[in-house]
Symmetry: C2
């Protein structure tokens, strides 16, 4: 029967107080007298009152939500970061709006749109290809980058990508590999570039020869890993080990070469990056570099909330450690052909 939603007025009437008192009771219970508080709370319970977030937000000049902008929602890589974000935002009473940059024609334009739309109190960016210029908007909400990025001074939570690449190369070198290749992420992606740079740096530091033809371009997906596998299979002079910029590509590669009769790690060693869930369930389990993705989300959300609360547009850049995860996919190189 109560088609109509109850408003703060209804509660005030039921409790015999003013709307201001109801509002106060709900916001800071300590400032109202115990008896009135109880009366209000009873009235709230009886009427089933819920504050209208839209009205509250309008009055308080905020939106109560945060936009998470990512390149592609369908990419499961982001799922855990989202979980980390949600675990902080939800208890803090912030809604989490998801938007992707790829669905429209121009990703930067999308960023600008969300920055100026006033639909959120803050943004979390998970797309490292957005251009820093798009952020130069006066009066824009606070933004946290939860991703490697080329822009300089933006609060961020990022991962030791270069160091991870070096760990991978170091491990392979220690196993005796000298012919090490790399499958990269998409060109223009800063993540991909940082890992590639880390790879090059480590190879040089260790004194291993760098064969440019052993650097294959991928785009982080399993399909691109499989494509790299086809390329590798046709090579005359193959590397004995490969470091992949993502586990997905490593898995796509490994599946294809295994079906072609290659044994991992006897014939070829593989090291991935990310430690996605499947990594430890492959046969052999993938040797990889772990990124604590949930933690990235948690820290990014905490950072953003503190910026929202203090009203500042700047903040620290936090670096999160990566961890080497040994698996069965990397072993000593095959004996040299006689």
């Amino acid at each position: 029967m109560d088609r109509k939603v109850t408003t703060i007025q209804d509660v005030a009437r039921a409790a015999g107080v003013s709307t201001a008192t109801v509002s106060r009771t709900l916001a800071k219970p300590s400032v109202v007298a115990k008896t009135t508080r109880e009366a209000v709370l009873t009235a709230v319970a009886e009427t089933g009152y819920r504050v209208n977030a839209t009205a509250s937000n309008l009055r308080r000049q905020r939106t109560g939500s945060v936009i998470v902008l990512l390149p592609n929602i369908a990419n499961p890589f982001f799922a855990q970061i989202l979980a980390g974000l949600a675990s902080v935002l939800t208890p803090a009473q912030y809604g989490m709006l998801i938007a992707d940059t790829q669905s429209g024609p121009d990703p930067d334009e999308r960023l600008t749109h969300y920055l100026t739309s006033g639909q959120a109190d803050g943004l979390v960016l998970l797309d490292g290809t957005l251009s820093p210029e798009a952020l130069e908007i006066p009066g824009r909400p606070p933004v946290v980058m939860a991703c490697e990025w080329m822009g300089r001074d933006l609060p961020s939570v990022r991962v030791e990508n270069g160091r991870g690449a070096a760990m991978a190369v170091g491990h392979l070198a220690r196993l005796g590999h000298r012919a090490i290749g790399h499958v990269t992420g998409p060109q223009g992606n800063v993540l991909a570039e940082t890992r590639l740079k880390g790879f090059r740096g480590a190879m040089e530091a260790i004194g291993l020869p760098l064969h440019e033809e052993w650097i294959l371009e991928g785009d982080f997906t399993m399909d691109s890993g499989a494509a790299a596998a086809r390329a590798w299979l046709t090579m005359e002079d193959r590397p004995t080990a490969l470091f992949f910029a993502s586990d997905e590509m490593a898995a796509g590669f490994m599946g294809l070469v295994q079906r072609a009769g290659i044994r991992v790690p006897q014939d070829l060693s593989i090291v991935g990056f990310d430690n996605i869930e499947i990594a430890q369930h492959l046969s052999p389990a993938l040797t990889t570099i772990r990124q604590p993705r949930t933690h990235i989300g948690v820290r990014a959300a905490e950072l953003l909330l503190s910026m929202i609360e203090t009203g500042t547009r700047t903040g620290p850049s936090e670096v999160i450690e990566v961890e080497f995860i040994p698996g069965g996919s990397a072993g000593p190189p095959p004996p040299a052909r006689s």
Copy 2:
């Protein structure tokens, strides 16, 4: 310097018209005169005006967003459904809020919360374990179930789960298997139960013996698949084929038994469900049942939007077809031991 955000008043002043005209120009340009329209549009461009969504929503008694409630954000299974939802919601100018039911203590309570919070114009439920009673709220927003569910009359988009299970069993039986087992999803999950029911029904229809000890309980995750593998390895009398209620479990199982020296499909045939991305990149590629997840999201969003627009709380229940995906993980049973 323009610290302050421009409001509709500023635009009205700049264009020399009333705020109502500005509002009209932006909402239904056809109803204002060409000259005024141009003046307003110029003023909008000059001032960089963006309508304040919160104020607009308050006035129009709507929120402009849709909440997607799922059991666990970190589960990549949902990523593609979200992509499908977003591809419809974003162009329609609806925000997509993500919330999960597992983070709190009581999932039903969370549903009630979002149903009464007035934070969304509609909800999409992806959690089949929620109880139908939680929906009995007067004046609640429209809800679409994008998932198998036990509730009767709720608009929904679901998949032929039972038929998929039957396809899997039929395929295995045709290959010559008689000893077929099943690894289920979590108890209480309707998806899991429908697939189990489909499995039982198909076994019976074909006339194959049903061994209860060959029905292992999982929870859709890779880890639970691996746990099932450990159980299978210790069995005296093993089934020669297994149908899994999810690809994730199939992958977890296959990885573990392969590392234990079992050959798939020579020693054991495996059929999954879902056709997640990795399925075709495993070695052997997984034989599975495809669910068009993006499409599920698209249809659910379209259905919900039409309900929001027409103000109705009811709608059709749409069933989406599944497809058999042949892979390398199912083959003829091993020759009987002599």
